[in-house]
């Protein structure tokens, strides 16, 4: 059963995931209306607390909150007193004293959302913490696959790229495994976590083998600046061996779809012509992100224990 916070896909069970997907399906309909707004969270306040820069995820949460009529406040370090050496926890507790109904947290260090959740009255939603998890990204990926394929059970999902540093990979690994898909990881050996097999997934050092019979190819972003020369010889080398183009995609199933959490490095993880059209569903992922985050806010925002106390009172 879902807890008060959404910190990790690892914490959820199959029924939770299905409930979020069903809710997102209904929220998607709201997004297709002329008036894309329902009064559900009217009078509720959601704080986007982003210690790490992010335009896409933050905007997606902002639109999701606004479509549910919540008041959404964005708070990021550059515009805050963090520069004055206020601790992360102090900042969070200060915001909490303003009685938000949910706090969406992103931080470059794994575990920070959990620390904040332990200290706050408001429910906390993890929007990505270090190399730990990025639950709403995995949920929107699940949702996209479910929409495309009509099921998740029994599918083969190949996750390609920097698995080691990727919270997206980790969350997706849990999400797809929990719903009965076979998850494969493909990366240069330096970018595969040790003992990954213990998580029940298979890892491959060759893209071709990993793609064999795959229904879904999920590419991860390569952080070029940080990794080139360390984990692989060069960007060109990576693009040649693990970059996806139409020719390599032929190893996957005929109706395989291609996904990427964005922002994409064109010509690195994915060929130019493949990024913009079927079978790539990258923009569908973005669209579904709003519906999924509406579902998450609907299910989590304003369900704090403080709420229960108010009700008794």
């Amino acid at each position: 059963m879902m807890g008060r916070d959404l910190l990790a896909i690892e914490d959820l069970d199959r029924a939770d995931l299905e409930r979020i997907l069903e809710t997102a399906l209904r929220m998607g309909e709201v997004g297709r209306r002329d008036v894309k707004k329902v009064p559900t969270l009217r009078g509720r306040t959601i704080i986007n607390l982003f210690f790490e820069p992010s335009t896409r995820t933050r905007t997606s949460f902002e639109i999701a909150g606004k479509r549910l009529s919540a008041d959404v406040v964005n708070f990021s370090p550059s515009s805050s007193s963090l520069t004055k050496a206020e601790s992360i926890l102090d900042t969070a507790m200060t915001l909490d004293a303003m009685d938000p109904d949910a706090v969406v947290v992103r931080h470059k260090v794994a575990g920070v959302p959990k620390r904040i959740a332990d200290a706050l009255a408001a429910p906390v939603i993890n929007a990505g913490d270090g190399a730990h998890e990025h639950p709403t990204q995995a949920l929107l990926d699940l949702f996209t696959v479910w929409q495309e394929k009509g099921r998740v059970d029994g599918l083969t999902v190949a996750i390609v790229g920097d698995v080691l540093h990727s919270r997206v990979a980790r969350s997706n690994l849990y999400a797809f495994s929990k719903l009965g898909a076979e998850v494969r990881l493909a990366a240069p050996p330096t970018m595969l976590p040790a003992a990954v097999e213990s998580l029940g997934v298979k890892s491959y050092g060759s893209l071709r083998e990993a793609l064999e019979g795959a229904d879904v190819v999920m590419l991860l972003r390569i952080q070029q600046e940080r990794l080139a020369g360390c984990f692989f010889p060069s960007i060109r080398e990576y693009a040649a061996t693990f970059g996806l183009d139409r020719r390599k995609l032929r190893f996957a199933k005929d109706d395989a779809i291609v996904m990427h959490p964005g922002p994409i490095n064109r010509g690195v993880e994915i060929a130019h012509d493949l990024a913009d059209q079927r079978p790539s569903v990258i923009l569908d992922q973005v669209r579904n992100g709003v519906a999924v985050r509406m579902a998450v806010l609907y299910l989590f925002a304003g369900r704090s224990p403080r709420d229960a106390a108010r009700r008794e009172g």
């Binding site: 209904r26 707004k37 609907y298 369900r303 709420d307 229960a308």
Partner: protein
């Protein structure tokens, strides 16, 4: 208020059924409208719709799920055979417009919304199975206004059980059914679709009723 939850819609089988661990099985439940009575009421309501609306061309039946859906479809079929008109049927979930979400800890599941036709300028007929406080109809009207500007809104309630808390009038009533607040009214047989037998039952809640609205 729709008292019908997907899970509680029963597995059919008619007649004598024991519901879970109910302590008093005698007189706990009685059928107030059987399938024949429901169908008869829906034919009458279709006739009333024809009688009270000058033009049937701009009529739009909008069902409140789950219970309203088979009822609206049946009314549309009746209108087709009585007056030869094809009236569109939409489905409008009211959950996101409920006024009690703030106080409820668990969020209720969302249901389908499918509005195949535009609402503007049409006479929209909301169809619900059980009307009581009027709060669901209020929510439905708010939701409807987000889809456009209907020329008029009318309401069909298969069962009107009273206990109104808002100034909402039901224009077409299948059956007025004075009830205790502690009783629960359910439309059963929804999984059967259009052809499956429907029935409306009244259930007395054992004291401290669980799952009461």
């Amino acid at each position: 208020m729709s008292a019908v939850e997907p899970g509680s819609a029963g597995s059919g089988g008619g007649g004598s059924r024991s519901t879970g661990p109910a302590t008093r099985s005698d007189g706990v439940e009685r059928v107030v409208l059987d399938d024949v009575a429901i169908r008869r009421a829906l034919v009458r309501i279709a006739h009333e719709l024809v009688e009270r609306n000058e033009s049937l061309d701009d009529l739009y039946l909008v069902a409140i799920p789950n219970g309203g859906v088979p009822l609206a479809r049946q009314i549309a079929a009746n209108l087709a055979s009585i007056a030869g008109v094809e009236v569109p049927v939409g489905i409008l979930d009211t959950t996101l417009y409920r006024d009690d979400l703030v106080s409820s800890g668990e969020r209720p599941p969302l249901r389908r919304t499918e509005m195949p036709s535009a609402v503007d300028g049409r006479t929209v007929v909301l169809v619900d199975d059980v009307v009581s406080t009027g709060r669901t109809i209020r929510a439905a009207m708010d939701a409807l206004m987000d889809f456009g500007r209907p020329r008029a809104v009318q309401v069909v309630g298969l069962v009107d059980r009273g206990h109104r808390e808002l100034p909402i009038r039901i224009d077409y009533v299948g059956k007025n059914l004075p009830t205790q607040r502690s009783e629960r009214i359910e439309l059963r047989g929804l999984e059967g679709g259009l052809d499956g037998p429907l029935e409306v039952v009244v259930r007395r809640q054992p004291a401290e009723g669980e799952g009461a609205e």
